[in-house]
Amino acid sequence: MSEVVETVVVVGSPLGLHGRPAAEIVRLASPFRAELTLAREDGSDGSADCRSILAMLVLAAARGTRLILRGTGEDAAEAVRTVAAYFAENFNE
């Protein structure tokens, strides 16, 4: 039984979702087994695998962009919480 957990995150950093936070998200996602994706709230541009820097960069999410963070699998809830917290801290920038 796969749980699907979703939450909305906002890109708060003035620098947008660029290389450094993308790399950090990959690192944060790695200990979990759940699949994690980010997608634009308006549904445009498909969804980005949180384990691919390229995929996240292609989202080109600037400051203020609202994204849907979705986790699927066993530890989805914890995975989503961890990554969402990172967004809430504005990527420490």
């Binding site: 003035p14 620098l15 660029h18 290389g19 450094r20 390229l54 960069l57 080109a60």
Partner: protein, 587 residues
């Protein structure tokens, strides 16, 4: 069959003369055959891909190590590329093409990388577009590692001139440096990778060679590149080759003489002293500046601090950078320009909003005061603290109003008060200068002169704004003329205002380092010329070859000219008479 000689005017970016056969380095990304493999071959193909990845990873890591501590940023490029080699989306794109579509590894790598690079390349964000170039560079390396032959280091049987549309760090890192005579590149300027490398290798280089030239080059073409004048000659005749051989000898001797003279004072024959300072943008270049006999730094560009959005240094890190620069300079002045972003120096993350007309938009001091005051504040705090370690001057770019100077002074005063209250050591009475790069600033020079401690004329932008010309636009670039009477008159206005207010004038734009124009700047009364370190020895020789009196006389006549060509003739005639060896070098 007679081969046609072609003469091209390019931009000189590293001095010297090279005569030799050409080696063309083609743009990476040549497309491999879309070969299909049998179903049984998939596993083996995936293994080939893994092996190529491992080899690529190793090479990138080795390059990172080798380049660390060398040119600023060279190692960082490979950091970014290492991340891409293991990127999940890229990997799955390649594996899908091998496993499900039965393409060979070469084509799978090429197609996957090309797909993502195109997506990234189409984005408006500059940072992301750069990652597209990195991705193509990585794909190129993967393809090389897949090919059976030895990593394709270009055949360097004899010493050759490297001709390329662009030279990426990957490519230059791979060249057999002992065999390179010089570089000729299409894209680039004095600060492009190939130019910086050429100067540190002390070989000639030219940039801005029209692309069509590269398309018609053949392997055995003979080429002459003149890193003084920027001329490129393809398949020169015997007499031309002979003439350049002589010029090479003469200039070689001259260049060593000039270097030997680096301790001589930049003094005119009638005893007037002009300061010669260096324009640099990283601490490493400081050593070159010292060697060339620069007295201090007339322009330290700080944009590099803000170009990597993932790592904008905070107050402490900036403080350390400025402090070490000041300590290295001893008691010689170091003029640091506050962040000058916007226009063509777009940095993702500092300034997101796309503008229809960035050159007339939010850049320079405007950006600092009205959009990123937080970053400006941090930079000023770091500068004020670092100032106690040496002879610091700070200047603000793109000034067009007295209010900008007043506000900057207020911020500095406030920071000073905060530091005093908190007991933080900082410099009091920090010399603050205004860059004169807009016609507005030049026209109100008399008002600005009373508010600042010096002027620094940024001639590149001043000329563009004054002549209403984008020098990068080939159709109108001919109008970009430093000797246009309007430009000369603005410089003169600044000098007059400065003298009336007891402050000095420096010129830090390209005009300052052009020996052909040194006589005019001298004659207009400029006090300091700041330039790229490699131009200092030549300009010193020019200064020492003439008297201020004759320079002033020439400048007065130039100011009265009705067009740029006439004024330039006056400058050339004077240079030809007083320093013919320098005049000839520029031809």
């Amino acid at each position: 069959m007679a081969v046609e000689t072609q003469t091209i005017q390019a931009i000189p970016v590293s001095p010297g003369i090279a005569i030799g056969r050409v080696l063309q380095v083609h743009a990476a990304g040549h497309r491999p055959e879309a070969r299909r493999i049998p179903a049984e071959g998939v596993a083996a193909e995936l293994r080939r891909f893994d092996a190529a990845r491992a080899a690529t990873r190793g090479q990138l890591a080795a390059l990172q190590e080798k380049l660390r501590g060398r040119l600023v940023g060279e190692a960082d490029i490979f950091d970014a590329q290492l991340l891409l080699v293991d990127d999940r989306m890229l990997l799955s794109g390649v594996e899908h093409r091998i496993r499900d579509e039965h393409y060979c590894a070469e084509y799978a790598v090429y197609a996957a990388a090309d797909h993502f690079a195109s997506v990234l390349g189409a984005v408006s964000d500059e940072y992301l577009r750069e990652r597209a170039a990195d991705l193509r560079d990585v794909a190129g390396r993967l393809l090389e590692n897949l090919s059976e032959a030895e990593a394709k280091t270009p055949e360097m049987d004899v010493r050759r001139i490297i001709a390329a549309p662009v030279l990426t760090p990957s490519e230059t890192a791979r060249l057999d440096r002992d065999k390179v005579l010089g570089f000729a590149v299409e894209t680039g300027s004095a600060t492009c990778h190939a130019a910086i490398l050429a100067r540190s290798m002390r070989i000639p280089a030219v940039a801005g060679v029209p692309g069509a030239v590269f398309e018609n080059l053949r392997a055995e073409d003979l080429m002459i590149i003149d890193g003084f004048s920027g001329k490129v000659i393809i398949n020169p005749g015997e007499r031309t080759v002979e003439a350049y051989r002589l010029k090479k000898q003469a200039t070689g001797k001259l260049v060593s003489e000039l270097e030997r003279d680096s301790t001589l004072l930049p003094e005119t024959t009638d005893g007037f002293w002009v300061e010669l300072a260096a324009n640099i943008e990283n601490a490493e270049a400081f050593a070159d500046a010292k060697k060339a006999g620069a007295r201090g730094v007339g322009l330290f560009r700080t944009e590099f601090l803000f170009m990597k959005p993932e790592r904008i240094p905070g107050e402490e890190e900036q403080f350390q950078i400025y402090k070490s620069l000041l300590l290295a300079a001893g008691d010689e002045p170091v003029t640091i320009r506050t962040m000058d972003l916007g226009g063509d120096k777009f940095s993702t993350g500092v300034h997101h909003i796309p503008e229809a007309n960035p050159f007339l938009g939010l850049r320079g001091i405007r950006l600092s005061l009205y959009e990123r005051r937080d970053l400006f504040d941090t930079q000023l705090r770091a500068l004020l603290r670092a100032g106690v370690y040496g002879n610091l001057r700070v200047m603000i770019p793109m000034v067009c109003s007295t209010l900008e100077v007043a506000e900057t002074r207020e911020i500095i005063a406030r920071i000073g008060r905060e530091f005093s209250e908190a007991g933080v050591e900082h410099v009091a009475n920090l010399p603050l200068g205004a860059m004169i790069e807009t016609p507005a600033a030049a026209m109100i020079a008399d008002r600005l002169a009373g508010m600042v401690d010096f002027f620094s004329i940024g001639t590149n932008d001043l000329i563009q704004y004054t002549m209403a010309v984008d020098r990068g636009n080939e159709r109108v670039a001919y109008l970009y003329r430093p000797t246009h009477p309007a430009v000369l008159q603005m410089i003169r206005k600044c000098v007059e205002a400065a003298v009336a207010n007891n402050i000095f004038v420096s010129v830090c734009g390209q005009m300052g380092g052009d020996p052909m124009l040194t006589p005019l700047l001298l004659g207009l009364g400029v006090h300091e010329l700041s330039m790229s370190p490699e131009s200092i020895p030549v300009v010193r020789r020019v200064i020492r070859s003439l008297s201020r009196h004759e320079a002033e006389e020439a400048a007065a006549r130039a100011l009265a000219c009705s067009n740029a060509a006439e004024a330039l003739e006056i400058a050339e005639a004077l240079l030809k008479r007083c320093a013919p060896e320098i005049f000839n070098m520029q031809q």
